[in-house]
């Protein structure tokens, strides 16, 4: 009897404290790199780097050069990308965290407001990166991460079913209907909504999520409400009613249907391309539904240095002088398939029209907000959109309530 009570207690508390366990450092996924390069300069220091599966090989290659030249040992710990943010936040204050971790730029606000990440000075190399990449990792004039890849969504077109890029949303739906396929176009939605995928449409109504400063950074004033936001909400309800948008379409259903040629268009990112290898594709800008340009979010991937790193010098040296080379950035591109953040590396891989296409769309995109307030937006945003699309909620009222709820959560 006591066992079951305690078991229940343990269940509850382990969930709440999963992040405090700190047991992950010695995980089975840990892969120690070959140590001690013979003939290298006297061994000095070691670096721990958290990477996810898809980037491990590329970072290993860069680490080998670094090890050979400096005699430092680089230990790569493979982790799930989804776990990295929470674990990094929980483990850095205990001193158990890594020196460097891979991460996305939109974590920046949370990482800085919790004081777990240290600024890095890119110096003159900053100019070698795509502007949006460095801007995304910049907060209050300081750069906090070394960018390595840029990703954004675009309209992926099956050229066998539609031969030209649609200029507007209505043109796209018309072209999709002319193609005679089951779906005029595909966008993943699900019952929880997908505001990331829907953002180009929202921005085309002139309702960005937060107000933007002149330098492109966001300030914590909600901008998605008001007349423009409600116009977008009304459009969602209308399209949901017409059946062009549906909450039944999940990522799996959308990708599977496009793969089988059941639609000429899908809104998606480079991570889907592997599944579409048999199709002849063109990458177009997402067509606007409102009267302003449709701007998707651009996400930048990069490497952060822990604020509690005992090896800050090595960590910065490794990032700024070894991972920012064209060779390393191209290797990371080949491992992950996302266009490199280093301009020279991006140019080198842009022969591929698909990569070039995504890059072109990304040039018009806006960085995903990285301010900590963004964390309070996602949970309300997606579900509200989904409920409007499915017809469960009245567009204007639901949108107003969402804005009020987010404001309540922001405090």
């Amino acid at each position: 009897m006591r066992r079951s009570i305690l078991l229940a207690a343990a269940l509850t508390s382990t969930l709440a404290l999963a992040a405090c366990g700190g047991a992950e450092t010695g995980d089975a996924g840990e892969t120690a790199e070959p140590t001690e390069e013979t003939g290298a300069p006297a061994a000095s220091g070691s670096l721990t780097v958290w990477v996810d599966e898809s980037r491990e090989a590329a970072v290993t290659a860069a680490a080998e050069d670094f090890e050979a030249e400096t005699g430092t040992t680089v230990e790569l710990v493979q982790k799930n990308f989804e776990d990295i943010r929470t674990d990094f936040l929980a483990q850095v204050p205990t001193g158990e965290g890594p020196d460097i971790t891979v991460g996305a730029h939109d974590w920046l606000g949370e990482l800085t407001s919790n004081g777990v990440v240290a600024p890095i000075e890119l110096g003159d190399t900053a100019g070698d990166f795509e502007e949006v990449a460095v801007a995304a990792f910049t907060q209050d004039g300081q750069v906090y991460g070394l960018p390595y890849a840029i990703e954004n969504i675009a309209l992926i077109r099956n050229t066998a079913l539609a031969d030209e890029a649609p200029a507007t949303f209505d043109e796209m739906v018309a072209a999709g209907k002319d193609a005679g396929t089951k779906y005029p176009f595909l966008i993943q939605t699900s019952a929880k909504g997908d505001p990331y995928m829907y953002y180009p449409f929202q921005s085309s109504f002139g309702a960005p999520v937060f107000e933007q400063n002149d330098d492109g950074s966001y300030r914590p004033e909600l901008a998605l409400g008001g007349e423009n936001g409600e116009a977008f909400a009304a459009w969602l309800a209308e399209q949901g009613d017409a059946g062009t948008l549906s909450t039944d379409i999940t990522y799996d259903i959308a990708v599977e249907a496009f793969k089988k040629g059941k639609s000429p268009f899908i809104v998606g990112g480079p991570w889907m391309l592997e599944q579409f290898a048999d199709l002849d594709l063109a990458i177009d800008p997402v067509p606007a539904a409102g009267d302003q340009p449709a701007q998707p979010f651009v996400g930048v991937q990069g490497f952060y240095v822990s604020a509690q790193s005992q090896n800050a010098l090595l960590a910065n040296d490794f990032l700024v002088n070894y991972l920012s080379t064209q060779e390393a950035q191209v290797a990371l591109f080949e491992a992950g398939g996302r266009p490199p953040a280093l301009t020279a590396a991006a140019d080198a891989v842009s022969d591929d029209p698909v990569v070039a296409g995504f890059r072109e769309v990304g040039a018009e995109a806006v960085p995903m907000p990285s301010i900590p307030e963004m964390g309070s937006v996602w949970a309300f945003w997606g579900v509200t959109e989904a409920n409007i699309v499915s017809g469960q909620a009245k567009p204007a009222a639901a949108w107003q309530k969402m804005v009020a709820d987010i404001e309540g959560a922001l405090g």
């Binding site: 009897m1 305690l6 269940l11 929470t86 004081g115 600024p119 000075e121 300081q142 002088n321 469960q392």
Partner: protein, 553 residues
């Protein structure tokens, strides 16, 4: 404690680091034939040797852990480990603690894995641990200072060399745009060094200073990265710092920390921030600095859960649904399991073994996988259930508040009945046949037999399992997360919680572990303590009640 025991434990302690010496010291005086004698006094039997070897192993491992804890300076772990080790040695070498000899290993694991976890949750429940209050005050101050350094606009990136004075003080030698070397330390601003040698744009030799090579720099990298060398006597000109010991940049601090007064000053506006009760630096006008630290907040998290209107409304609904879900899950699975067990217990049924094996199949599937499969099958537009079984009916299984609850119970029924079927089959087979014979002679019908004999006898052996099943379903996070993820959302609530959320999934959402909400471990821990109290109380009361059933037999 006898003299022999004292010697033995001394020997063990002595062998703790050596390991192999124990058998040698003890083997000689213990021939196998001497066992009866050893029982009365000296204790040198084979069993004792085995015990000694095992304890030596335990002590060696313990010592290893102690050394590891010592080198990591984790004093809490060190003290706990030491106490456990001393306790283990005392328990296994004294004659007075026989019951403890059996209980100690279990107790040790209980302490480490459960009491500690529960205690830590209790502690977190009284803090504001979460976003913005993630670490200690020292780390917050450190982070604020480093975040509020700004590179002086237009300042060059200068090639930098780390140098050391004869007194061992670190300094930087930077090469300016004109190719001249300037040297300085934390206390002395940069001064030109006339006779320095520059090779490839980097200072390689500075008279009066030792140039540190890479290895020496790395040995002192903490000092190097925190070193700030003022550009001139005027602090407004900023100071040189480096992050890779290759290039120096001129930075100026916006925030300054006064350790004596414990205040932060913004040098650009002159605003003074003082530490507030909430674990943040606050200005007189109420504005705060971004990075805070963890402080205890008393019962605030508990009052938020019950008194804050944004949480209390959903909390009451979720609490009700959690009880309904747990109770109905146990009742439905038990009834179906029992019905099938009784049906397949009938000796007239052919191929019972095959049916029984088939019945157990859902039990053999991992729960989260089955829940995911069901989530796909119950999709409104494309799911197997609507498309194939119901011929294209658009029933919103997972998106209507009531249907989502029904779907959850049905899927949980599918997942849970095999377990009940198993235990009921087992219990039924152990019921005595003569009771049924007596009932038949007394003229009892099937219903009467079931109600008066089968049910009570079955409950005697299954009631404790039903209670633990209730506790399990009360916290059945996997099913909720995978099937509905709490949805559909409450239309009238202002927090991201839904109609099928149970307390544990509410805890998960509030904790913000999935990244869709700001993390609030304090509130989440407070809620998990509430869950602990609820489940604990119900289980305790229910187990007390089941004792009455035992009186039947």
């Amino acid at each position: 404690m006898s003299a022999a025991d004292t010697n033995a434990s001394a020997a063990v302690v002595a062998t703790g680091d050596g390991g192999g010496a124990a058998p040698d010291t003890t083997r000689t005086p213990s021939p196998t034939g001497a066992r009866p004698a050893s029982r009365s006094g000296s204790g040198f039997g084979v069993g004792f040797v085995v015990k000694l070897v095992l304890m030596a192993l335990v002590d060696a491992l313990g010592l290893l852990a102690l050394l590891a804890a010592y080198s990591e300076q984790s004093w809490g772990i060190f003290a706990a480990m030491l106490a456990l080790l001393v306790a283990a040695n005392w328990v296994y070498f004294t004659r007075r603690a026989l019951p403890l000899k059996y209980l100690l290993p279990g107790l040790a694991f209980l302490l480490v894995y459960q009491v500690y976890v529960v205690g830590y949750t209790g502690y977190v429940a009284f803090t504001n641990y979460g976003d913005g209050h993630n670490s200690t005050k020292e780390q917050a101050i450190e982070a604020l200072l480093v975040q509020n350094e700004r590179r002086v606009e237009g300042s060059p990136a200068s090639p930098l060399t780390v140098v050391e004075s004869d007194a061992g003080e670190l300094g930087f030698a930077v090469v300016d745009d004109a190719g001249e070397v300037r040297v300085g330390t934390a206390a002395e601003p940069l001064e030109p060094a006339a006779d320095a040698t520059v090779t490839d744009g980097v200072a390689t030799d500075v008279p009066g200073w030792t140039v540190l090579d890479r290895t020496r720099v790395l040995e002192r990298q903490q000092e190097v990265t925190t070193l700030r060398v003022p550009v001139s006597d005027d602090p407004k000109d900023g100071s040189v710092r480096t992050q890779d010991a290759r290039t120096g940049y001129v930075f100026r601090s916006v925030l300054e920390y006064d350790a004596a007064a414990d205040t932060m000053t913004d040098t650009s506006t002159g605003v003074v921030y003082t530490p507030g009760d909430e674990g943040r630096f606050e200005a007189p006008d109420g504005s705060t600095l971004a990075v805070g630290w963890r402080v205890t907040v008393g019962f605030e998290n508990f009052t938020t859960a019950f008194a804050d209107a944004r949480y209390s409304g959903p909390f009451a609904k979720i609490l009700t649904w959690t009880f309904a879900f747990a109770l109905l899950s146990v009742v439905t699975t038990f009834l179906l399991g029992m019905f099938l067990a009784i049906a397949f217990n009938d000796p007239r049924l052919r191929g019972r073994k095959i049916y029984r094996t088939l019945m157990i199949l859902p039990y053999a599937m991992p729960g989260f996988l089955a829940a995911l499969l069901w989530a796909g099958m119950l999709n409104r537009g494309y799911g197997f259930v609507n498309q194939v079984l119901l011929g294209g009916a658009g029933i919103p299984w997972l998106t209507d508040p009531w249907l989502a609850k029904v779907s959850l119970l049905l899927v949980n029924l599918w997942l849970g009945f095999p377990y009940m079927f198993l235990i009921c089959t087992g219990a039924l087979q152990s019921l005595p046949g003569d009771v049924y014979e007596a009932a038949r002679i007394d003229g009892a019908g099937r219903w009467r037999t079931w109600r008066s004999i089968t049910m009570p006898l079955l409950l005697v052996s299954t009631a404790p399992l039903l209670i633990s099943s209730f506790a399990f379903n009360f916290n059945n996070f996997t099913l909720i997360k995978m099937l509905t993820d709490g949805g559909p959302r409450f239309a009238d609530a202002s927090v991201p919680l839904g109609h099928t959320d149970i307390l544990i999934s509410m805890v998960y959402n509030v904790s913000g572990l999935d990244g869709t909400a700001p993390r609030n471990y304090g509130l989440a821990s407070a809620l998990s303590i509430v869950i602990f109290l609820v489940v604990g109380t119900i289980s305790a009361v229910a187990f007390r009640q089941t004792r009455k059933l035992e009186e039947l037999t």
